[in-house]
């Protein structure tokens, strides 16, 4: 009996941590409401939907960031190509609600238009930084989620959806 109560309390603690962690991510602008929308599309028939889409985002972003590094390293910089890459990254980050990454892409595109290599390099660093930050945070979030599910709980996003 005591064991059961202990387990329920542990689960509660995990769920509270999850809620607090997510709330902070929203509050600090790392995520926007599009992220909650993803959970609306997750159900018993697609229980891994959010993780799948976010994983695609990670793959996409890493590829694009590499392409951008290489493009900026060229002797003759192709700004149209760079703009195309940034446009893609802006799109995918927007689609999963990675707000800070998306915003850094917006600045990036402005400097692309101005064809300013130095500023573009700075933007790339900024994008990289924001990407790594959100990657770490989302991975931590999914870890928490796993623990909750393992402890017999479930994530009901509707309750905390903004």
């Amino acid at each position: 009996m005591v064991q059961a109560i202990k387990r329920i309390m542990e689960l509660n603690q995990l769920q509270r941590s999850f809620l607090e962690y997510t709330a902070a991510l929203f509050r600090e602008g790392f995520l926007d409401s599009q992220f909650s929308q993803l959970y609306q599309l997750q159900d018993e028939s697609n229980p891994e939907f959010v993780v799948e889409v976010v994983s695609l985002f990670f793959e996409d972003s890493e590829r694009l960031i590499n392409d951008l590094s290489r493009a900026l390293d060229q002797t003759i910089v192709d700004f149209r190509k760079i703009d195309a890459h940034v446009h893609q990254l802006k799109g995918s980050s927007s689609s999963i609600g990675a707000q800070r990454v998306k915003n850094s892409c917006v600045s990036f595109r402005n400097f692309c238009e101005a064809q300013n290599i130095e500023e573009c390099s700075k933007c790339l660093q900024q994008v990289k930084q924001e990407y790594l930050l959100i990657k770490n945070k989302l991975e931590a979030l999914f870890q928490l989620e796993k623990q909750i599910v393992a402890a017999g709980g479930a994530i009901n996003m509707v309750e905390w959806m903004l």
């Binding site: 599009q34 599309l41 939907f49 446009h87 689609s95």
Partner: protein
Amino acid sequence: MGMTTADSQFHVLAVDDSLIDRKLIERLLKTSSYQVTTVDSGSKALEFLGLNENDRNTPNETSVSPEIHQEVEVNLVITDYCMPGMTGYDLLKKIKESSSLKNIPVVIMSSENIPSRISRCMEEGAEEFFLKPVRLSDVNKLKPHLMRTKCCKNIQNQENQENNQSPEIQLQTAQSNNNNKRKAVDEGISPDRTRPRYNGFTLVSN
């Protein structure tokens, strides 16, 4: 049921070069109980619709194409605007210029809110223009466009079936419903299934 407007019968073709966005739109549409096919380019979309990219509208073609389309009937096309090669706008144009496809409603999605782009698309015949990221509330706006085409389609079917004398659905006017029944009872026969009356109709399934 002879005739049903179940959502599972609606087939939507989604076009987007972004894998993430294709996954998203697919889930959005499936959640709304639509059948979904996704392709990553405008040319693949045209291929799926049974239209060769270089096709022009010839009189002969119109009689052939509809039969092919029966196999892969598409009730709505939703496409991204910005795509390499053929843009969503180009695709929209090709569909509206095709005598076999022009009645398929087309919806455009774009990450950029450019008024001139939006009006250009609407002028070309797009039903809706959604800003990305697309949400469930946007997808809910598709229903009326789909219902409209399905409705017209069923009238067409009914007229065809009447000619074949083997209708599966019966159309009756809301007002004359009672009259028909009374008449049938009086005459001691079951409601005439081969002579539907329809003006200001309701659809009745058996």
